[in-house]
Symmetry: C2
Subunit: 181 residues, 2 copies
């Protein structure tokens, strides 16, 4: 079995979640299979082996699940980006448009050292709105996003355009016309 089939087999599709017409790619079915979860973390190690990465930034909440093992195994600082109001220290924040309304994410301002090259990690890239805001936030905090990683990419929703100029890598991509938005 090739890598793509191995991973694809473990990703559950949930129709009409979180709302009618959306096909949701669920990574909890990856987490519950240790061989597949381990495969994802090992692939991350391969992708960024030898790259000059000073810290890993993890996007709440599912990004934590892949960023944390990668950071712990590479002995790299792990910096969480969370929804507004969740981080207790002094933060910098960034608001961005959602399909309906706006969202704000924050990082501890003191966590990012000036000049640090950062790996940004989430589970899935769709519109790229959250990741774009995270990239800008890390810039504002004095760091620089060297690379963006996600397990799953849905390029038909636009993340490549949103993250233009960034080095973005995913483990699997879906091109779906079956998703009605």
């Amino acid at each position: 079995m090739d890598d793509r089939t191995f991973l694809d087999d473990a990703i559950r599709r949930v129709p009409d979640f979180p709302k009618p017409g959306i096909l949701f790619y669920d990574i909890t079915s990856v987490l519950s299979r240790p061989d597949v979860f381990r495969f994802c973390i090992d692939k991350m190690h391969q992708l960024y082996d030898g790259e000059a990465i000073d810290a890993v930034v993890a996007i709440e909440a599912r990004g934590f699940l892949f960023a944390a093992p990668f950071a712990a195994e590479n002995r790299l600082p792990l910096l969480p980006i969370r929804k507004a109001g969740k981080l207790p220290g002094p933060t910098v924040g960034r608001s961005f448009e959602l399909e309906y309304g706006r969202d704000t994410i924050e990082i501890h301002a003191g966590d990012v050292r000036r000049g640090w090259n950062v790996l940004l990690v989430d589970d899935l890239l769709a519109t790229g709105g959250t990741a774009r805001a995270a990239v800008d936030l890390i810039d504002e905090a004095g760091g620089s996003v060297r690379a963006v990683f996600a397990v799953i990419g849905l390029p038909f929703l636009g993340y490549r355009e949103a993250l233009k100029g960034a080095d973005v890598r995913t483990l699997i991509e879906y091109e779906s016309e079956s998703v009605v938005r």
Copy 2:
């Protein structure tokens, strides 16, 4: 430096967060120090070495940060417990009292196999309300909580009573009279 001092030095105290009178023990200052984060994960390995654990259950969101490396390094299934409405598949849920209002947590019902011994992981135990609900939820889903782990314990807030009968272990405990509730 002894283990307690090493860990204690890395835990930032934030007064009056999330509200006046609460002293918040912040683990993001542990995550940003790779030596201390690694120490926590290695301590988890030591604590549960040789124990018959079939799966790791992680409580959203900070619990993910410690549960994920432990699960990945031990090649154990990782099952997230999330706030209501976040998990896409069929779930079982449990509501519990907060200081103000109620909260509901859920787990994918199909993730927990009958008879599994589970390690439940969060970052901090205070009142134990969330952890208690999680223990009951895992029971309801057909599993059994063999042990509960958190990095930080605040026993003066009552978690030991809330989790009576469970094998609870933490890496550091604080007995604080300086917290006004």
